[in-house]
């Protein structure tokens, strides 16, 4: 009997203005029924392309080589009629980004029912919703009325509509917070176990795959660099890329991942203080209390991590600390003085405290060269001295060497890590005493996360820079922070030294958060 899915020498090329781009090269994979295959790899390595090629859903600009055998039948040579019959009835897809994969103007129930009608299945929408643990009434909803996790589950219900033998799930949990992610993964694992379907699970997050997959394939630049049983691959990666991927997800509590020596934690004088800080947003839907009475202190030379799920108010806190938003109540003290209100005063304040934004790509004006971006602050503050020398110095501190060679480069010519360094260099050029970094590595590939974190630690060591690191990733906090503050729905529920908070959580929410973190170790 032939395997459920077999890829033989699959290659995909995209025709673009720049010529042909090889997105997938010579991929061989096999999946048996009832098995789960994980496909890992950083963004852009070709995971989705592989997924789409299975049902021949690639855009017209794609050229496919090799064979794609679905139950022994080659998809690439099927007639359109046959292909349409195979689609969804034999194999279905849970698309990346359920947000866009659902038709926004039709009820989700209709969308689930559509393939049933088309392929003559007898499943009932309410049963399908039940399988993904959604109430039947949700069938009457429009996509925009559902949360991200619910939409993702609708996609899964839709994928199951015609009892397919193969389901391909393309990053089904990206953009979900850890707690919802755990729910969705639970549903998928249960279905594989109960119904014996074959599942291809795609993710860039090794820890997600570790908990669900039997086998794991790691991709890089369109090719597979390592393949084997999931446990083995994660426990003893042979390829350096796999190793970098694994390292990017530190295990909380494992001292091996801790990069700050406990003795480094020293007595320090308070630099920035927030007292009973509250921030409201007044919007169409009424008032949102984003931050509610937060007390937070950062000492000089200290690294504090602010953790919490998406939407808990982390970014808002950071913005308020920098005076980008006026607090609704409470105050921010810098060296014991309240933040100035005047434009001039704020400008002075911002020479002392700098912010590194979440996404380095969008934090740089795509039209400005590295030199212009770094010199921007110098020009605004009319910093005396040789501008070029100052820029070069800042770049060098941010480990971009030789600095001169980066001067004329535009952001899109840089890698993500390099971009983040340019942003940091722009902040450093002003010689700040405190760096507020909002999710400094969230959008970066696994391989460059470590470098940026090392840079931050190095800066603290060499320049005595204090830092507030904002993240939703507890592992990150574990690896570099001195102290941790946990935020939940605008409230700081717990704060204290890293070991104490993460190893011995007091608050119930912190415990839930820790429990939901997928781990690479069983």
């Amino acid at each position: 009997m032939s395997p459920l899915l077999e890829l033989r020498g699959l290659g995909v090329h995209y025709r673009t203005d720049r010529g042909e781009v090889a997105a997938v090269r010579d991929v061989d994979l096999t999946l048996e029924a009832g098995q789960t295959l994980g496909l890992a790899g950083e963004s852009g390595c070709g995971k989705s392309t592989v997924a789409m090629s299975v049902l021949r859903l690639l855009p017209k600009s794609a050229r496919v080589e090799g064979e794609i055998l679905l139950d022994g039948e080659d998809v690439t040579t099927m007639s359109w009629g046959r292909l349409r019959a195979v689609r969804w009835a034999q194999a279905s897809v849970v698309f990346q980004g359920a947000m866009h994969a659902l038709n926004p103007v039709r009820r989700v129930g209709d969308q689930i029912a559509e393939p049933i009608r088309l392929h003559g299945g007898k499943a009932k929408v309410s049963d399908l919703l039940d399988q993904v643990e959604l109430p039947a009434a949700k069938a009457r909803s429009y996509p925009h009325e559902l949360s991200g996790g619910q939409k993702q589950r609708i996609m899964i219900a839709m994928a199951l509509a015609c009892d397919p033998r193969l389901v391909i799930a393309d990053e089904p949990t990206t953009a979900l917070d850890v707690i919802v992610q755990a729910q969705v993964l639970g549903v998928l694992s249960r279905l594989v176990a109960e119904q014996g379907i074959g599942l291809v699970m795609i993710s860039h997050d090794l820890s997600v795959l570790a908990s669900t997959c039997d086998r794991l394939a790691v991709m890089r630049h369109g090719g597979i660099v390592e393949e084997g049983p999931a446990r083995e691959v994660i426990a003893s990666p042979t390829h350096p890329h796999t190793r970098a991927l694994a390292a990017a997800f530190p295990v909380v509590g494992d001292p091996a991942f801790r990069q700050v020596e406990p003795d480094e934690v020293r007595e320090s004088s308070p630099l920035l203080r927030a007292e009973a800080l509250s921030v409201d947003y007044r919007g169409r839907g009424g008032v949102v209390h984003a931050v509610k009475g937060v007390d937070l202190e950062i000492g000089s030379g200290e690294i504090v991590a602010l953790v919490g799920e998406s939407g808990s108010g982390k970014t808002t806190t950071a913005r308020t600390l920098l005076g980008l938003r006026a607090p609704t109540s409470g105050r921010v003290l810098f060296e014991g003085e309240e933040l100035p209100r005047s434009a001039k005063g704020l400008r002075e304040y911002r020479r002392q405290v700098q912010l590194v934004l979440q996404d380095p790509t969008s934090a740089l004006n795509p039209r400005h060269s590295v030199y212009e971006s770094v010199a921007e602050g110098l020009r605004i503050h009319k910093v005396p001295g040789d501008e070029a020398a100052l820029v070069a110095d800042a770049l060098a501190k941010a480990e971009l060497r030789p600095p001169e060679s980066f001067f004329p480069v535009l952001p899109h010519e840089l890698s993500g890590g390099q971009r983040q360094r340019v942003v940091i260099a722009g902040a450093l050029a002003l010689g700040p005493r405190l760096l507020v970094a909002d999710e400094p590595v969230a959008s970066l590939d696994a391989s460059v996360r470590g470098e940026i974190l090392a840079l931050l630690l190095g800066l603290r060591r060499e320049l005595g820079l204090a830092a507030l690191i904002i993240t939703h990733d507890l592992g990150l906090a574990w690896s570099i922070a001195d102290r941790v503050a946990v935020m939940h729905e605008g409230v700081l529920v717990e704060q204290g030294a890293v070991d104490q908070v993460l190893l011995d959580p007091r608050h119930e929410y912190t415990r839930r958060l820790l429990a939901a973190v997928p781990s690479t170790t069983p």
């Binding site: 920098l322 969008s362 602050g377 001067f407």
Partner: protein, 294 residues
């Protein structure tokens, strides 16, 4: 340092140009525009303006095209070729100046409304929406009826009534630029309004404004022709619109004087089409949103 910047700009312009030249429609439009503009500029040098004077009309009335009068003559015996040629000057002049006025107002309002927010923005947006909804030609008609006749009035009437779509576009673009984190970064670095608008917003918005300009010119030229046709133009100037008005008034249709009807109308169509094609081509080249899905 600056030399590198300039070099890069030049390279960017070069690549935009290469991208543009790949669009055949846009290129054709540009060539046509170039020819027409050169012809319009050359008119006083190559032709004799006295032929526009009815008292010195060279031909008989309503002569059909002949070797002497390639496009025939009008109701006063003037050469239609000459009139069309000179008419292009007024049509282009009004089209361009009205556009400059319209785009200037639109950009100013759009950037201001997006950048400053608050009641100023709300007020400006209300005015913009009001002008957007108001049928602009009707307002332009009203304006040019009550103001003294002349080029200035037409330019004003078209400019003042047609800026709203530019303003909305610019506002949307400014908002989307200002929502980008690099604006926040500029503020964190200490930049004020002038810095943010001058260094970040305008450079990002201007290409779009430029695209919008070419499309607005097309509209302005049609608007000029329409206003002149309705008798609101400058009566002492020959423009394509006023030629068509004369054709309508003096019975070109009943005389089947196609030679008097075709040249000015085709002039408008060709110019407007050329501007539109160039504008659409530029749009695909310069508008990042459209470039992606090619």
């Amino acid at each position: 340092m600056t030399s590198i910047v300039w070099q890069r700009r030049r390279a960017a312009v070069g690549s935009t140009w290469r991208e543009f030249t790949r669009n055949r429609g846009g290129l054709a439009g540009l060539v046509v525009l170039g020819v027409v503009v050169v012809l319009a500029l050359l008119a006083p040098l190559v032709t004799d303006a006295s032929g526009l004077d009815v008292t010195k009309a060279a031909g008989q009335r309503w002569q059909s095209p002949s070797a002497e009068f390639w496009f025939g003559t009008d109701h006063t015996g003037r050469s239609v070729l000459l009139l069309t040629w000179w008419g292009s000057r007024i049509s282009l002049l009004i089209g361009l100046t009205a556009t400059v006025l319209s785009v200037a107002i639109g950009t100013l309002v759009g950037v201001t409304a997006a950048h400053f927010g608050g009641w100023l923005s709300a007020g400006l947006m209300w005015v913009t929406n009001f002008f957007l909804v108001l049928p602009s030609l009707v307002l332009a008609i009203a304006l040019s009826t009550v103001l003294p006749r002349g080029i200035g009035t037409i330019v004003l009437a078209i400019g003042v009534t047609s800026w709203a779509s530019t303003a909305r576009l610019v506002r949307a673009q400014t908002l989307s630029v200002e929502a980008r984190p690099f604006i926040e970064r500029a503020k964190v670095l200490g930049g004020g309004h002038v810095h943010v608008i001058g260094r970040h917003v305008l450079p990002a918005v201007l290409p779009l404004v430029f695209v919008n300009t070419t499309l607005t010119v097309a509209n302005a030229i049609v608007a000029e022709a329409t206003l002149s046709f309705l008798g609101l133009g400058d009566p002492s100037m020959v423009s394509w619109g006023s030629m068509l008005r004369a054709a309508n008034l003096h019975g070109a249709v009943s005389q089947r004087a196609w030679w008097f009807l075709l040249p000015p109308g085709l002039g408008v169509v060709v110019i407007v089409l050329a501007f539109t094609l160039v504008g659409r081509a530029l749009e695909t080249v310069l508008n990042p949103r459209l470039r992606g899905d090619r």
